[in-house]
Amino acid sequence: MRKNVAVDIQQVTKIYGTGNAAVTAVNNVTLQIYDNEFLTLLGPSGCGKTTLLRMIAGFEDMTKGHINLFGEEIEDLPPNQRPVNTVFQHYALFPHLSVYENVAFGLRRLKKSEAEIDHRCKEVLALTQMEALAERRPSQMSGGQQQRVALARALAPNPKVLLLDEPLSALDLKLRQAMRDELKQLQQKTGITFIFVTHDQEEALAMSDRIVVISEGKVQQVGTPQAVYEAPSNRFVANFIGEANMLEASCKTTGKNMTFTLVGGGTLKISTPDVAAGDAVTIMIRPEKVKVLAKTGKKTTPSSLQMEAKVIEQTYLGSVTHLDLACDGQTLKACINQGAHASFATGDEVLIEIPADNCRVLRS
């Protein structure tokens, strides 16, 4: 099924300053964002995700590139002419207007009829459960309430795309988690394209249809949460999302029986494209995929690599236990379920098993 492209970002670059002091905030980003999807721009602080968002909104201009909205070029349009609305990080609610008037603001500027404004405002306030507070002032409300008002205000003019700039970062944990579900449902209900910016990978995984991982102005990977978690395309993505064990290796043979030799010894047969014999690579495996067995255990999977290790730290977290294992001069992390295997104590000599099927080969 071919999806409609909502936002088409073509080779967009943003450079601040000139000469030696020039800073490239966004570096040649090309990206298609589809209609009716919840897309997250994920990355550490300063990676350029907010800059990219602001360029879509129209608050920053681009040094190079184009941005199309449903096929129309918008880069020359000022922000007040783009059918795109933003939920700002610190909400930017108008302190001199009531909640209702804040929400009505965009519709009034668009010269909608009073009846239409009233209907739409009530609709959107109901959607965000803010009807009861319609006559309050922003300063009289809690952070969570202000956040909903900001959301309602941005939804009221029925934008084609909704931009959300780390809207949950100012909320405390419980509220943040509750809002995650609400935002996801809101997107599905309204069918509007949501472009969500955050540095919190858990948020990204929980809410997104697709995640765009950004670092230093460049797109590292675009994919569904599953793809990004289980098949990260490079070290950065692997490390940024979830935990990862990194094993240095080199390619011994290619072809049908592609084999990798670990630096510390041991081999793994992993089929992966674009690798030539002799290439240095990193083999990544998630902690929960690392099997931990008693010293006398047998190999559970024929294609896995077994190594000796010693438990140097264990952290009991109730449903899971994190283990730090010393193995071949490296510290590996494992995560085992409660009751799944025998329990281990610090200092135990154990066997760890690395199933080839759960491994991922990354460029070094």
Binding site: G58, D61, T63, K64, E73, E75, D76, P79, N80
Partner: protein, 275 residues
């Protein structure tokens, strides 16, 4: 619609086109008259408003004018008495208001101090005139000094209070922790740190006193003319470039004093308490 090359100038949304130009116009409006005044003081012609040639003659004429000398000296005398008096009182008042803790007459005192700023100058002038006349106080320059002291107080007060508020009260507490009594803490910690603020207040009070016209006009008796009042009488008699010259000098004095004040207070801001 497609525009392959980078487009017309992008303005951030908070940047309003034309406001920069209007601001330039604003500063022009503010300063051109002053520049015209100064320029015409170098006008060789007898008629103040018709330019003929560049000349220092009016400034030279000033040097011979004894009346202007005594008027200028009177202005200085008044300022040299009124400004310090006002500054001392303002310092004491600021110390009490900022460090004195809560007390009942605080709001009243605050209002009292700003009163001279709120009342229109002509009203103050007239009231003071009536006061001196009915009570038969005819002490020449002293009348003026008394009148000036009153309205110099709020001008001295403002920078001193600001400096005190910016000062960390913890410093005095630290001094007391190190065995300084209240007076010593004041003398060795508060006062030295407050001195730039006091100097600023003094400068402002001084400038305000030198520049005062309306109140001095009404309150001054015969024989105790200050420079602004004398300038007024010159304007009434007939406009010659001599007026421009003495006006320019008065302007220069004010500008220099205010600039010193500003440099002092910027330096002060940079050297604030650490930690």
């Amino acid at each position: 619609m497609a525009n392959p090359h980078r487009k017309s100038k992008f303005r951030p949304i908070w940047d309003f086109p034309g406001f920069g130009g209007l601001s330039v116009g604003f500063f022009a409006f503010l300063y051109v008259p002053i520049l015209v005044l100064v320029a015409y003081s170098f006008n060789g012609s007898k008629f103040a408003m018709v330019w003929s040639e560049f000349s220092w003659r009016w400034y030279l004429k000033l040097l011979e004018n004894d009346d202007i000398h005594s008027a200028a000296i009177n202005s200085l005398i008044v300022a040299f008495f009124a400004a310090p008096a006002a500054t001392i009182m303002a310092t004491l008042a600021a110390l009490v208001m900022v460090r004195g803790g809560p007390f009942r007459s605080r709001a009243f005192t605050a209002g009292l101090i700003t009163l001279p700023l709120m009342v229109p100058e002509i009203v103050t002038a007239v009231a003071t005139l009536i006061f001196f006349a009915l009570l038969n106080i005819n002490l020449g320059l002293i009348n003026i000094i008394l009148a000036h002291t009153v309205f110099c107080i709020p001008f001295a007060y403002m920078p001193i209070r600001a400096a005190l508020e910016a000062m960390d009260p913890g410093l005095e507490v630290a001094a007391q922790d190190l065995y300084a009594g209240r007076w010593d803490a004041f003398r060795f910690v508060t006062l030295p740190l407050l001195t730039p603020g006091i100097m600023s207040g003094f400068m402002l009070a001084f400038v305000i006193s030198i520049d005062d016209f309306i109140i001095t006009l009404m309150v001054a008796g015969a024989g105790s003319t200050t420079l602004p009042v004398y300038i007024y009488s010159m304007i009434r008699t007939g406009v010659t470039p001599e007026v421009n010259a003495v006006s320019t000098l008065l302007l220069a004095v004010s500008v220099i004093l205010v600039s010193v004040y500003w440099l002092l207070s910027s330096a002060n801001r940079k050297g604030e308490a650490i930690g």
